[in-house]
Subunit: 558 residues, 2 copies
């Protein structure tokens, strides 16, 4: 056995609790190097009568490693545990103090979950695990109230520029809720709607005020009420990393420098604030002078932003937050944020914009999940660009599943594109079969899928601002076949819980080729998804019954 | 290169920030497998003009791995980074997305510290890094006020039983501060002093009241004042995991069951609370019915305990907390606890009783350090019991150093024994040379040493209650030679900052033998510690000048 490859992390993402009785344990070994692993676990205060051996199973594999897991239900909510690894005639025991070639008589050196505290359980909202999201960029979805149009509004459907306005608003969204519901959507994610000068509203002017071009608070409350009436939850975007240039405290600091009452609200390196050689004398998002970074350690800043966090959930009725540039804000702020938000609504869903490894935010104390861009890029490379083979794609998915606790993976925000990327259809060179294949994966994979508005009727678009085109409401200009496909795929996801929260097992992932098959399975049903990302028909043999009899295999071709 | 062995964890303990400018980065490789490693780092928004290569160095090694580290000081407090690993003609680039055999042109897939937020910096109190602690079990240190003796007090110096009282008190401690200061001690750790029926006081009756047998609040405040006047800090022990059986809310629950106003203060599985076949119907420490576990998620419990946490620091003047059974309490509670305590005193030192891998508590958000029992057992096995060779001992120390951020290692609570273990002299079979060797290691190793009262004059003792004997104040019965040795060792630690916060490098660790040498070094001085844990004289050649010229090598023999 290659001992150097064997890895376990006590607590953190490889030993965590999911309810008052249940611990998930994971371990990593060199690929195909170990045949069987057992957890040896028990209560440290009653070792002899509670000790048990629990078999583990491989739940994911990548280029280098196998990842194993099992569940433990210790009778007194305490677990001391070690691992017994078997390969051929070799048996190795692994405890916290290292490897042993004989079994230890004492559990002193074992790993430990000292107690399953309810406060430390990793749980994510059930509704989010069962949601199919629709992302709306409000300025571009529908113009329902032309009286609220900004000055210089462009004709609907024109070419979007960085600073153009087309007059989209919340009343427009309200008027199209039938359309959204008909597609099978049960959750909407709105990019920001707070008062802000830009069309995208990521440069907030007032965190407690709706942008008047989008509507008034009554329109918003009515919209949310109508959404809830249809079983549609509503997620809101916010930028707590930085404000916009018209945010009053920042304006005050610009004007009054160190004498401003808000001087400590930002990270100012030197007063007066200015920009020298393109470098602001204060911290900003990137080097953008108009996006000054908040000092989120300052009590007044925290009070202001956390009040906003509470207000839109607790009083206006939103069901959660998507957090812009979440990785540049401190962890302490996010922990307080989570406390405030979950107090306002224990079922609120918190999604961070985190493009990278997100483990430090996903231990149950900060976010429920992250924008799953690693998923986005894996699907693009495999399906849309053909850059990776099925094997590498499967490895990439497995690596992601191994990284996060199960409740986090089940609520991962799985998107194919967004207002921050090229549209998936454009990445696929306009090939709608590729788009359909990508959507098939998205709708049959663990995690919360999100459809970017208009993808479902064939809207294309390159990088920002081109990916922010106006929604097309003329049905004759919509791709209705594609729309039908989306409805079917989303419908299938709603029909089978196994596609949402069932186990995920790769059955086949062709090396150097493009055929992939995986199984989703729960107690109710088993579904096999078989995909061919090449242009040509392919025949693949799959051992579909691997260990399971209760099968409803479903053939479904794109 | 063995890729399976290479490991890096973004954020967490292997990529953390220590001040507003500085990031520590670490990576693990198979032992002796890689010759050079460079961090390739830069600002993601200004990659081309900030990109740099930073060489790493091996700072620790164990049986299987080398651990490398370096420091990065990104100009704009943001760091994207990857690793370049070289061995012979082989070069491998490791980024977040895996391994590559050519350099990546883009930093998109690199690891990232998105921003050095001041709130996330890992810092531990400077005074703790420079402290030598003395642990006092108040009931057994000195009887300064016989009027406060409990009933049935035993004659001082008698054999301790589980429930015996000898009349030690705080006035007794106060009277011996000269003795303590003379030894070189600059910090005292008191086991609990809150009102409680037992002699050890781990079964708290009232968290806001001093035990009357130990003194009144004025004696305590005077004691703390006198300590502070001598530059001695004072650490207090508390049990926030469970209360004692006489704690009023628990008494109320026992009497009134589900109707008690305190019914939710504990984790009751079934009312009325009772014990069946040795298993309480409520959660406890171990299966001990008289130590009911707090529901630390309950707002009133939190309020009560956090008020205690604040009161003893903010109003009475203690300098920190040692937290009993810290691993069985939830992380959310500890985070709030840290906030409250550091608000009361930003320099407060928080030490958890954690016998195992403590990373989940030592990320800067909960504790400053942990009782370093892994150190205790490593020293015992090598020095006192001769169970491990010098090589294995060095590996064990290295493993621990690799586990924790540097500021945490520098404040690790390094003890040789305590009220919970056999005394080190007894473990060493009464061999005082072995004891001296153990103390030499303790006083020359990174982390905060703690002397258990009486060890310095030769008190021995087996497991509890024998390790809790009365302090011997008759000088003729004290081992004055040993006492002198302690003074010298402690004095040496105070004299050379390098012994406290300097680098630690193993120079020699004999395989199958007992000779060990290591270097402690900072900008001021270099010290070589050479140890022989065998009975016989040994000659060892050491390359003492490895890379350094500024040496004050000091010969010091035990």
């Amino acid at each position: 056995m290659l001992l150097e490859a064997i890895e376990h992390r006590p607590k953190m993402n490889w030993a965590y609790t999911v309810d008052k009785e249940t611990i998930h344990l994971r371990i990593r070994t060199k690929k195909s190097d170990v045949e069987r692993i057992f957890v040896i676990g028990g209560d440290k205060y009653a070792w002899d009568r509670t000790k048990e051996e629990i078999p583990m199973r491989v739940f994911a594999s990548d280029e280098l490693f196998d990842y194993w897991e099992c569940e433990a239900k210790p009778p007194y909510r305490r677990l001391k545990y070690g691992f017994k690894l078997e390969s051929g005639s070799e048996t190795v025991w692994m405890n916290e103090d290292g490897f042993h070639h004989t079994e230890r008589t004492s559990s002193d050196d074992f790993y430990e979950i000292a107690y399953i505290n309810p406060e430390d359980i990793i749980k994510t909202p059930e509704w989010a695990k069962n949601a199919v999201f629709y992302q709306i960029f409000p300025e571009r979805f529908a113009n329902g109230d032309p009286s609220r149009d900004p000055e210089n509004v462009q004709p609907w459907g024109g070419k979007p520029e960085v600073d153009s306005f087309f007059g989209g608003d919340l009343e427009g969204v309200r008027q199209h809720l039938d359309y959204i519901a008909d597609l099978g959507i049960n959750a909407i994610y709105f990019t920001p709607i707070f008062e802000a000068p830009s069309n995208h509203k990521y440069d907030t002017q007032d965190y407690l005020k709706l942008d008047p071009h989008f509507g008034d608070i009554d329109t918003l409350k009515q919209l949310i009420e109508e959404c809830h009436g249809r079983g549609i939850r509503v997620l809101l975007d916010a930028v707590f990393n930085h404000s916009g240039k018209t945010f009053k405290p920042f304006v005050d600091v610009k004007e009054n420098g160190a004498d401003s009452a808000y001087a400590d609200w930002f990270h100012v390196r030197e007063f007066p604030i200015e920009v020298k050689d393109g470098i602001p004398s204060y911290e900003t998002f990137s080097f953008e002078p108009n996006m000054p970074k908040f000092n989120t350690g300052h009590p007044e800043v925290k009070k202001y932003l956390l009040e906003a966090a509470r207000y839109w959930i607790g009083e206006v009725g939103f069901d959660g937050w998507r957090l812009d540039v979440a990785d540049e804000v401190d962890h302490r702020f996010w922990r307080e944020f989570q406390t405030v938000v979950k107090e306002a609504n224990p079922e609120a869903y918190i999604v961070g914009e985190l493009w990278h490894e997100a483990t430090p935010w996903l231990q149950g104390d900060q976010f429920d999940s992250a924008m799953n861009y690693p998923f986005t890029y894996a699907v693009r490379d495999f399906v849309a660009l053909g850059k990776t083979d099925a094997r590498k794609f499967a490895y990439s998915l497995s690596k992601q599943l191994a990284r996060y606790p199960l409740p986090v993976s089940q609520a991962a925000f799985n998107l194919l594109d967004s207002h921050d990327t090229e549209r998936i259809l454009t990445v696929a060179g306009g090939d709608k079969n590729k788009l359909k294949l990508a959507v098939t994966i998205q709708m049959t994979y663990p995690g919360t899928p999100c459809v970017y508005y208009g993808d479902e009727i064939g809207i294309d678009g390159g990088a920002d601002p081109d990916c922010r085109k106006c929604m097309e409401w003329d049905e004759s200009k919509q791709d209705r076949d594609l729309h039908e496909f989306y409805k079917t795929a989303i419908g299938l996801r709603h029909e089978y819980a196994a596609l949402r929260t069932g186990r995920f097992d790769v059955l086949h992932a062709e090396e150097g080729g493009h055929t992939l098959a995986y199984r989703r399975e729960d107690e109710e049903s088993t579904l096999i998804v078989a995909l061919n990302a090449s242009d040509k028909p392919q025949t693949v043999e799959i051992d579909a019954n691997g260990g399971s009899e209760k099968t409803t295999a479903e053939a479904w071709s794109v």
